[in-house]
Symmetry: C3
């Protein structure tokens, strides 16, 4: 996917949005500049690092290719200097984050299939690529990962990855499938925020 | 070990018990259905994933073989629907968990030796395989891992792995050693619960 | 670096100091003897494990070479028995910890370059080697990693690794660079404690 400049560009957009969410958590937890940069970088690139670790593609891309890391650190600087502005822009930031969610899920799934994983494993790894950065962000902020508590976030990633795998099985061209799977994931995420979709809690709790 | 169907079956029993413990922590922390499934899956299969990561056997078995993951998710569903029942069955669940502890410790140790680790490294990796899922469960629930605070849990895993390594050194047949090490680990764990064995705290604290 | 006995020795000194810090966190959080040993071991060797995981050098050195692990566990025992004494010795322990910081940063950076990483990736990996153990210690203690909240700790590691990379580029002999980079990292860390250097928080928070 990274060979196509357009996808690389939206991958960086997603990384930036993820980095912003990391920076805002860090600011809320009163971290200093270094802590903000680390949490922004972790949220932006850790999902891909986890993917590469689990696929054995080492050292991970994020240590070879400096751009995503630089973009995530830039997001950290934006959070440091313009936090209140970013909070007011929470709607566009959510949209960019949803773009990142879809792109990371599909890219993770694609790389997993290329590494020889079967369909369920690849869909799972796609989801882990998409949500892994946010999980690490929250673990380092000593909080229960937000993805476990709220919203249809991981499910949107899962849906995008599943569409991708099913599309490939049906023999559709890869570019077409990607152009369906990413927007599908995006749409589910945005709709879930718009309409307040929630997953059920245990019926007896 | 997985080539022997009997061991594969008790491995799945242990995975199920681990998954139940993950599901119960998730329910207690008010997570939604997705959070419950993730914590059940993580507790059930993350120990083996950590083992495979550290041994460089990538992608890890848990992404290739769908059964353990499916069994752990089934445990998550059980926790979601029948939580109060499972809480009342805490004694049998503890017994199944102790089976899993022994099986995972020995399987981890065995795979580590096959990968060329020396005896101390293999025993350590066996223990990490057995307790790793529970550690991840508690880290994701933003709690100090239970294994660090209470009970003779990790020590039981350590004992099973140590018996296995010593038995191999003495030249006993592998099947016999496994048939000793797993019940030994199980017995120590169960006895520690039955008699309330505790490890000491710092004498001056 | 490990081929030079002198460096191996100060590596063990750093591991011991890191282990002490893990043990003291464990004692403060009321963990039992096993929990203290695990946190001491994790703080002492997890940085190197993370380095080896990300470089794909598996199984990691810490599972092959028993000495660092044994030294870290010894530090755990010291914390268990002599905690109050170690607390009174917090100045010399800080100095040893700063030695470890510099050694781990340079050793991590060196190994990363040998694995073919480019300069920014190697500097980053050097820093992760130096602070990774402390991050895992705090995550397992359910706290926000101290390195994100306070002091010029990670920056000192970063500086040491950067000096090393720049020195190599300038063609200086490796032994000379190492003999500059480690003390430089040490000096920044110690000066930051001595003069209370702090990094800024977000200006608007």
């Amino acid at each position: 996917m990274h060979t196509v400049p357009f996808f690389y560009a939206i991958d960086l957009v997603g990384t930036f949005a993820f980095g912003l969410s990391g920076a805002m958590v860090a600011v809320r937890r009163q971290l200093d500049l270094f802590g903000i940069l680390v949490l922004a970088a972790a949220t932006g690139v850790a999902g891909g690092m986890i993917r590469d670790l689990l696929l054995g593609d080492l050292p991970p891309e994020a240590l070879h290719d400096t751009w995503p890391l630089a973009v995530a650190c830039l997001a950290g600087l934006c959070g440091f200097f313009f936090g209140p502005l970013i909070e007011r822009l929470n709607r566009p930031v959510m949209l960019l984050d949803a773009v990142g969610l879809g792109v990371f899920a599909v890219a993770g799934c694609q790389k997993a299939l290329a590494s020889g994983l079967n369909a369920p494993g690849a869909v799972l790894l796609g989801m882990m690529t998409a949500v892994g950065g946010g999980v690490l962000r929250d673990v380092m902020a000593a909080e229960i990962p937000r993805v476990l508590r709220e919203d249809v976030y991981a499910l949107a990633a899962l849906a995008g990855a599943a569409i991708y795998v099913v599309g490939l099985r049906l023999g559709a061209p890869e570019l077409v499938i990607t152009a369906c799977a990413v927007p599908f994931s995006f749409a589910i995420r945005v709709a879930s925020v718009r309409y307040g979709w929630k997953l059920p809690r245990a019926p007896w709790s």
